[in-house]
């Protein structure tokens, strides 16, 4: 077994150099291109980025549920506490018993669209119990008990009646609660939440986040939280990774990231959050659009849109990952020479001016 010493570590899952490439007629679409991050036991890791940056594919790649046209390489090391060993999930066959035993039981997932994530032809109860029946127990009656308790736990009133209803009889927020109940029914070690609040309105969003926070403490599980909403990240995450065009451009603890963003893209994102009380100002926006990640050169993909771009460097060379401190990584040429305090100061001033 490799990484023997990490067993006692607090790292539950580690993604290493994950690549998801999609072969198209036009070329290879590098949807995820070399992503690495750890997820700590009982903590929340946030993955933030614009639509199409590859965050959803990254999360689905962890439990190998991407469509067959996606070619996934790299490592997803999962520490299985039951067997006390580290498994590379990507080495398992897509439909093998081993990975199916992890899906839904040790790592479960909730999705963005609570409207379509449940089958409209089966009752909510049937779909929650299914999860329990394949992983936990064989007895249907007991499984129903568990499902009812889970529904109560996520705040669904009248769960005994509700369990026999169909998804179209639930509201969006309730469906997302039911989804959470289903995902947590087998006490997973890791919950992957793929934009769970995006389709909900703001008050419901807050309730669902609060619920997730509570349940996380109760079940001591880790969460990988995927969103494009930095406000949500600030509320729920311990650590954040910012993705741009299939790469993580900056990774830090939440406090550090909001207080001290380094990558020009992160800065842009933070600047473009609307703030209360400032009415007349025009909202900041990052110029340009996200290009399609087809046959990209091995240089900075943010170059075209970057305010600090350096011609001849950023668009010509491979960008290094720079460890600014123990928990702060940034992928940007501006910090190539970290000793160059002058430049760093210049950037700091800029940041302060932006007023976080």
């Amino acid at each position: 077994m490799r990484c023997e010493d990490r067993k006692n570590n607090d790292i539950l899952l580690e993604v290493r150099n994950l690549k998801v490439h999609i072969k198209l007629d036009e070329g290879i679409l590098k949807a995820v291109d070399g992503v690495s991050f750890p997820i700590k036991r009982g903590k929340t890791m946030g993955l933030v980025g614009e639509s199409g940056c590859g965050k959803s594919l990254t999360s689905k790649a962890i439990i190998s549920i991407n469509p067959d046209i996606c070619q996934t390489t790299g490592e997803v090391l999962f520490y299985d506490s039951e067997k006390n060993e580290i498994i590379n999930l990507l080495e398992l066959e897509k439909d093998s018993a081993e990975i199916r035993d992890i899906r839904g039981k040790k790592i479960s997932m909730i999705f963005q669209e609570p409207m379509t994530a449940f089958s409209p032809l089966h009752t909510i109860g049937n779909q929650i119990m299914e999860n329990i029946l394949i992983h936990k127990m064989k007895n249907k009656k007991e499984a129903k008990e568990v499902a009812i308790n889970m529904l109560k736990r996520v705040g669904i009133a009248d769960a005994e009646k509700r369990i026999n209803q169909y998804p179209h009889e639930f509201s969006g927020g309730m469906r997302q609660r039911a989804m959470i109940a289903m995902a947590l029914s087998c006490n997973p070690d890791l919950l992957i939440a793929d934009e769970p609040t995006t389709a909900l309105d703001v008050t419901i969003q807050a309730q669902v986040l609060e619920l997730m926070n509570q349940l996380q403490k109760e079940y001591e599980m880790a969460i990988l939280f995927i969103t494009h909403n930095l406000g949500v990240i600030a509320e729920i995450c311990d650590e954040v990774a910012v993705m741009y065009l299939g790469e993580i451009v900056e990774r830090a603890s939440v406090k550090e990231l909001f207080r001290n963003p380094r990558h020009p893209y992160t800065k842009g994102l933070i600047k473009s959050i609307p703030k209360m009380g400032r009415k007349k100002e025009r909202l900041y926006s990052i110029e340009g659009n996200v290009p399609l990640p087809l046959d990209l050169p091995p240089a900075c993909h943010f170059y075209e849109r970057c305010e600090y771009r350096m011609d001849g460097i950023c668009n010509k060379q491979k960008v290094p990952e720079i460890q600014l401190s123990e928990d702060h990584m940034v992928k940007c040429f501006l910090y190539n020479n970290y000793d160059n305090i002058k430049q760093d100061n210049y950037i700091k001033q800029e940041t302060e001016a932006a007023d976080v």
């Binding site: 689905k60 479960s108 994530a117 032809l121």
Partner: protein, 332 residues
Amino acid sequence: MLKYIVRRILYIIPTTIFISIVIFLLIQLPPGDFLSVYTAKAVQEGETIDKQALERMRQDYGLDKPWYVQYFKWISGIITRGDFGYSFTYKRPVISVIKQYLGITIMVSLVTMLFTYIVAIPIGIFSAVKQYSIGDYIFTIIGFFGMGTPNFLFAIVLMYLSFKYFGNPMIGLISSEYVESAWTWAKILDLLKHMIIPVIVIGTANTCGLIRVMRGQLLDELNKQYVITARAKGLPERRILFKYPVRAAINPIISTIGWSLTSIFTGSTITAIVLNLPTQGPVMHKALLNQDMYLAGTWLLLMTVLTLLGTLISDLLLAWLDPRIRYEKKGK
């Protein structure tokens, strides 16, 4: 739910009455009547017919009255006495002609339908799951050939092949030596053998259409979010496939059961003539040519009722299978 069913059944009554009027009107529309066709034929064969006798016959049959009087006579006979009228060509009551052919027609139709679904649904599922594979392409090609080939041509080809390799073209449904005999295993076996060609010929076009429908529907469903949810739960692929997307994809097929039954009834006329099948198609054809109006009218009326019942059955099945429909119906 019960209220919904009862209401749907009650709706059938006015619909049937309305359609029966339209049917009768349409049958009466072509100029002339059975007797004029009869006379024309007789004259062609060199016979002479007494004009007075003809007039008397016309009065006897009530053919000199306007169409609505004839209609009321016909429909009141059906309602009060179960009398569907008299078939001029067969020279006996319509009901006895229908009795003779109905059983075998329904049997051929049902077996054909069964064949259609048993063949089409698994192939449709296969084609969707293995989209763009060699198997998918082969089934697609066969499917389009099946849809494009005229049934009667296909029937002739199969008869020829059957004659060439088995020495029997398999005309009709029962071999001559069994026609008079009682129902024994040998006779049933003979019947089954004779049904192979008609079932394949009549079923192919429908089967090929259904394969396309099933494939398209399933392809839509396979990429739905709930399939990914099921996969994330750790269910095996096969179980996911049959529990979720196949179940959803089959709904539109079920909703067409009602009228696909009657389309097999009526669509197989030419095939039945070519294969000399003792089914309804040729009888109807003959009745229309001879303006045998009560026979034609009764057959069409029967088709109407079957279509309406079929649609009702489809709707009920669909409501049973799809909770969303059930819900809407309850809400009304």
